[in-house]
Amino acid sequence: MIERILPHPVLAAVLVVVWIMLVNALTPGSVVMGIIVATVVSKLTSIYWPERAKIGRPLLVAEYLGVVLYDIVVSSLQVAYLVLFRNPHTLRSQFITVPLDARTPEAIVALAGTITLTPGTLSVDVSEDMRSLSVHCLDVADPAAAIGDIKQRYEQRLMRILT
């Protein structure tokens, strides 16, 4: 029964929170309106989400967000340094191919997004069989180490969160 009305309970909960933040006031009215909006939206968009992604372990999610946030700050400083003090033609820019162990589409999307936001890397494409990501690096000395870094730092954490 609850599955019919709320196919994605986590998505609906996020929508309620987003609605309350949009209204910028925690009143009974905004909560009720948020619940109505969340129910209707998650019902209308449920055809685009045929499977239910399982998000487990809130502590791991928090740890992951912390790691990513820290890396975004570090990566911005690195990019700033490269832009300001290096001749762009001496940067060792190249493509690397990251083989994927993650199989769920949600985990791959999250990984690709993370790669784009973090140090010197930009995810460009996923292979057709979804087994590898093509990543562009701004300045990399050792491609193998960069691949290992991505897999260890992000992918393994994501695989534990999105199973």
Binding site: V73, S76, A80, P88, S123, V124
Partner: protein, 101 residues
């Protein structure tokens, strides 16, 4: 508003502006289109975030209002920045492939 909070907000505004400047400089200075994508996706995102955090603090410390709009803007920026970068990179690769054939 105390001097300390004014200093904090001004510092955040300056940091944010500096990062946005560097991101835009990267767009102009780097050599090829894929390199150029690195500037705006990272530095500019962080710059906007710093400015929005400053706005949030100003609302809270100056007027005692807790404002969540800035938080939402940052949240959506972080979700959408990789997608626009991904589309630009794909378009570039596609054009390059067509030109080579």
């Amino acid at each position: 508003m105390s001097v300390f909070s004014e200093l904090l907000i001004s510092a955040l505004l300056l940091i944010g502006a500096a990062f946005m400047l560097v991101g835009s400089l990267g767009l102009a200075r780097l050599a090829d289109p894929l390199q150029r994508l690195h500037g705006p996706t990272k530095a500019t995102t962080l710059g906007i975030s710093a400015i929005l955090v400053a706005s949030m603090l100003y609302q809270y410390l100056g007027h005692g209002k807790l404002s969540f709009h800035e938080f939402l803007i940052v949240f959506f920026l972080f979700i959408t920045a990789p997608i626009s970068a991904h589309l630009l990179a794909k378009a570039y690769l596609h054009i390059r492939r067509v030109e080579r054939d």
